[in-house]
Symmetry: D2
Subunit: 349 residues, 4 copies
């Protein structure tokens, strides 16, 4: 027991925090020793999330009350904006602690882009310089050596796993990418909003943030890195009446190659990856296949329009799209097997 | 009562047939006098659809048993293929009867295209020549004068209402259209299929028929007519965990105009239409707004990529996408008010 | 047009208010001329409920701004407690106006019971004395003559339509009634609550207010009236992952009669009722059969335990359970056909 | 690896078979070495259940093709009736193999009761005599020593965990028990039925098999054992629009004790149980808390009717209600830790 890493979770009353608890509570090398939540401080965790009734978890406390020097790692599931200063304070209290940030605060490398999309100057630009973008499959070595990992958004993880290897290999025209994205309702968080009530979101389908979603610059940043140029993409999210799951249908123009070439390139890129699977020709990725799991499924399909193809990728927004990927990164940072605590198979049906 | 039109419904045990019954049973000028169903012949309609317990409907019979000479109109909700010969027989029995075909059998004008997509030669090519494509808003006069109306598919109705006025006015590049389509599960019909079981389709999201859906040639036919050229489009459908509703997100390249110009063009095209509404700038169409109704909502949004725009259209696949549009056409054919029996507002929540 | 009744709706931004609008907007004898909402005053109705985009409705205003003297009837969809004083003020402004109260404020005849369950003394006891309990099938004559009708709760409507004729005829032991009730999520209203978020209520099932639900005394009051004695019932509600619909499974002990006798008694009681249908032996009531409609379906089944039976009743909580029944009552109060504006068939699927 | 138990699954193409695969594939002491399915023989498992794309599983074969002598245990997820003879054949081929039967074939001890409810004489009465009823918490020692375990149905598990300790301690009147049960749609299996289509079961609620469900005699058998008398119960199941989860609301008459006494008795009965948790007073069991997990939550509530109480129990019908409990039993039979492979926490949201 003493060899287990001591873990704290900032923002444990949200869905990403809760999914980190779900997975870490059964992780062979982790021990949850601190849980924080602003408005729920003082409560037992199973008052806030009753599905933890079988666990013996620490009480929720205010983040200022945690003795950070006793922890090995902290997962941060706070809303963006709040995160920067709290993480700075945590690191000041314990400079060796590993930070897995699941918020958006350290994902954008360019401070102007950050300010433009989030409406204020970044409050911890030096830490931003240190932060590593936590898309495990593309930044594995840097993550293993990092102190602060900015875990990607759920949509960027789904879109980038589909597109980055293709952009890097110049197989597609990066100036003509349309990403039609669909997400379950947990993507909107546990905050009370009218549009995420059961009676509003159920039996219906709504596009949202068309042309203005904050995951766009993150996707553009990383496709830009892969392509070696500035990139603008279309990214159009839709709210789907399901709790978990995310699917990106990416429409791409081919640089003189075939859809089969795209599939082969993706298969080569991910052949040793434990969590990213490229579907065989004709097999359709669907969110049901990854629900509750850290797995990703990517497929490639021919378009009726010549020289175009369709790349489809699915993941669970709270797992590979958030808490699961954060744990995958933690495993790397502690030299643990990358798949530790993450091998649950999708819950289907 | 004697002035009511006598209506028969072929294929009353399917969802489109049932929605025709739902609406016609309360239509002020219609009287349902015959219901046919192959496998359920002999049953009462409320054994097959228990939600009709309050109606006094004719029993289901085999189609050969109906005296077609006594009917004024027939709605046909049979599977494609079967329809051609049965409609020919019905018209032989009563050449004056009005036919509202909700199947795919008479929608494609080109017999080669039909054969290519449906796998057999058309069995009633002469009737095909007579059939009018029943997208009310674009073929109103021809429909009013027709005997046989081929009501469009649900997806084509949603896509074409969004795109035809734009193609006709040359505002968009018709060679670069991506239609990402999403449909509720009723679109797959009442037949028993594993992928439409609750436990399979619920809490999940699946693309299907990518690049191969039979509604593609129908969309291409009508955009082609509008543009005056042959057109190939990308059309990619997705199965959504809801019963009713369809949404098309159409990604278009602009011919030197702005998204606001597109919206203005659509608003002008539909300004006198009772059922097609163009959303004000910033208002998001969503399927919840049209569930159970014959209304359509179309919206236009700017893309982050220059010279591109996004057109979003929603409808209820069983109403404006099928039975409702058929009734709208029937109203025209009988000189009734076009909205008769169709003014139900969406059932929300 | 001038002969239409002028209607106001208090609390038009809630679900019951919205369903009253949905139905009244297509009612042949009604014209909506005032809509009030506290927090949304100044907005267009389709900003608050976008599915009304096709209607030309009055703007939402504060209730104090309405000229009540110009109205013929008002529907009240306000939260309980608030209603009493506002209705008193409306009646002061126009003593001839007809009030259809869909709140709980005037349903309990006994002021002590009211105070005990709602936590404060009734604020308009004189009006309470005047109010008629609006379960149409049992109080038709009184409703027709009333000025103020207290429309029953959704659960009481479902339970009482199943049980009152049986209690009245002494066919069941009224001291041994268990009502296991199940409701869709709209029953909880449009207010923002964590437990009605899609991600919380979806794919799950929760009992709530076990032994403490405020619809209990209302059910007991009316069964007591029918039985001529004080009655205590078990009433246990459950939240079901669907938007609309309510089902009561009532477990009863038989007074020496058979389940078939119960069914016959119910069939006799409702034989002339336009909206209440008793299912034939073996036919199972289900909420799908009444979704969006004013119809009720009741069925009786034998229990494995001797001398017991099971009575199952279903309705749409927002229609016969609220706005629809209110309109049914309004029709009576104005001498209109009782079914006017209410003949929509269930939206299935 | 060599120390892992070799496991076969009969009927791997059904939901219970698939959930056994999901759990056993990650069980530290198990290795899946044979999968059988009649109609799908020859296919890869991920063609039948695509969510297993990340596993390296044996192909599906006909059961006659398996070399049973090489296996340590077999899980049987076949339909009832078929099971008896196949299990007899498997045991003939390997008399030492451990059988975890998840069908209904060996649950009823009385052969007449079996014949009455299943419509034919039992085909392996001798094996029936040997079979141990696999409700782990009540038959732990016998299970550990058994060769053939008849795992209980999902409903009986939920109902009996709530009621058996109370019946045994004579705290309730066993002749007056009403069990109102609610189940997700997976309870109906993967077979193609109209009533389990998404468009039929979604947004709705249906009672079924009222008074005639085959789980009734199983519940009565075990409550009878606990009470030491013959028992008849009311058991009324309802189909809920969710995939997984089961909830029993049991209405009981108290033998001079209080609801708190019931709760205390249950807490005492389960105080050392790893999977059965008694909710603290006021905490509401809900299926969301156990989705995908082997845990059970039981709560007790006061009734408004004197001397009555309400006991609420929840579980996941495919886990503790089927495959999970079977694995729990297998662990016992092999002397493994009882919780091995079963500690997954509920997937919420």
């Amino acid at each position: 027991m003493s060899s287990k890493k001591k873990i704290g979770i900032l923002g444990a009353s949200g869905y990403t925090g809760a999914d980190a608890v779900r997975l870490l509570a059964r992780h062979p090398n982790a021990e949850i020793t601190a849980l924080t939540a602003n408005t729920h401080a003082g409560k037992a965790m199973d008052e806030v999330f009753p599905h933890f009734f079988m666990l013996d978890l620490p009480k929720l406390v205010e983040w200022e009350k945690v003795d950070w020097s006793k922890l090995d790692a902290v997962f941060c599931g706070l809303p963006h904006g709040a995160t920067q200063e709290i993480i700075a304070a945590v690191l000041a209290a314990n400079p060796k602690i590993k930070i897995l940030d699941m918020s958006a605060d350290f994902r954008l490398r360019d401070m102007n882009t950050y300010a433009q999309w989030y409406g204020h100057e970044h409050r911890a630009p030096k830490l931003q310089g240190e932060a590593v973008y936590g898309l495990t499959e593309f930044y594995r070595e840097k993550i293993a050596a990092a102190r602060l990992v900015a875990c990607p958004g759920c949509y960027p993880t789904a879109a980038l796993l589909a597109l980055v290897p293709l952009a890097k290999a110049k197989l597609i025209d990066v100036d003509d990418i349309v990403i039609d994205a669909k997400s379950g309702v947990t993507g909107a968080g546990r905050g009370l909003k009218q549009n995420t009530l059961f009676s509003e979101a159920g039996e219906g389908l709504s596009p949202y943030s068309v042309g203005t979603h904050r995951h766009s610059p993150e996707i553009e940043q990383e496709i830009g890195v892969a392509a070696g140029s500035n990139v603008t993409v279309n990214f159009t999210p839709h709210l789907i009446p399901m709790s978990r799951g995310e699917l990106c249908t990416s429409y791409v123009k081919l640089n003189g190659v075939s859809p089969d070439d795209l599939r082969a390139a993706l298969a080569a890129a991910y052949k040793d990856e434990p969590f990213v699977h490229v579907a065989k020709k004709g097999v359709m990725p669907q969110t049901q296949n990854v629900r509750g799991s850290n797995y990703v499924q990517v497929g490639v399909f021919a378009d009726r329009i010549k020289n175009r193809a369709i790349v489809i990728s699915v993941l669970d927004n709270l797992v590979k799209g958030s808490a699961g990927q954060a744990i995958q990164n933690m495993n790397l940072m502690f030299g643990l097997p990358e798949t530790a605590g993450l091998e649950q198979i999708a819950l289907f049906p």
